[in-house]
């Protein structure tokens, strides 16, 4: 998993690499469907991948 690239993840879940990058940088908040796809791909719960911050409304990806 650690040698996985953004391109690999993007292809696996059917989005562009820029989308993965934008999510990582907090520029884009993914839909619930995409968030679930990402978490299922890593076989973890959605809360382990994304966090919701009330104040800044930023979602971060681990």
């Amino acid at each position: 998993m650690h040698d996985m690239t953004q391109e690999d993840l993007a292809q696996a879940i059917g989005v562009t690499r820029q989308t993965i990058l934008a999510i990582e940088k907090g520029k884009y908040v993914p839909s619930l469907g995409l968030a679930f796809r990402i978490s299922r791909y890593f076989n973890v719960n959605i809360e382990e991948v994304f966090t919701y911050e009330e104040e800044s409304r930023m979602i971060e990806i681990d």
Binding site: Q6, V15, T16, Q18, A22, Y28, P30
Partner: protein
């Protein structure tokens, strides 16, 4: 079809339409370019469905949607402003009653109907405005949603 071939096709269609537009002006038949324009759009639409490596995910869809919505929101106001002035010309507003008290008072002349050439210029301006608005908003939202972000990878 790959993405670059599709972009090349768009370029060719744009050039062809430009030539057809020129020819339509020369022969003074607007219907020629109008039909060609619709055909060009249909060809682009059909070709786009054949592109295999063009990924449109929810982020790019959101960028397109936001840019289109904002363009519409700004454009319809400007369009209404021009349309109202054009409608006023048709209705000849204001057409005040003539001054019957003073027979020698100058009559208020009705507004002239907007010449067709002027309508063409206004339409050209609106068309350019719409394109610039869309491109501008598209750049803005693409930047906002991290289109040109770089990383250390």
């Amino acid at each position: 079809m790959i993405k670059n071939t599709f972009y090349l096709l768009i370029g060719c269609i744009a050039l062809a339409l430009l030539g057809i537009f020129w020819y339509s002006v020369e022969i003074n038949k607007p219907l020629f370019i109008e039909i060609s324009f619709v055909l060009g759009i249909v060809i682009i639409y059909l070709a786009r469905r054949k592109v295999t490596d063009l990924i449109e995910d929810e982020r790019s869809a959101k960028i397109t949607e936001k840019a289109a919505l904002r363009t519409f929101q700004v454009f319809w106001v400007v369009f209404c402003v021009f349309s109202i002035s054009a409608v006023m010309q048709i209705l000849r507003v204001p057409s005040f009653p003539r001054n019957r008290t003073f027979e020698h008072a100058p009559n208020i002349l009705p507004l002239e109907i907007m010449p067709s050439r002027m309508i063409g210029y206004v339409q050209l301006g609106l068309l350019c405005l719409m394109i610039f608005l869309y491109v501008g908003f598209r750049f803005y939202y693409a930047r906002k949603y991290g289109e040109w972000e770089t990383d250390e990878e």
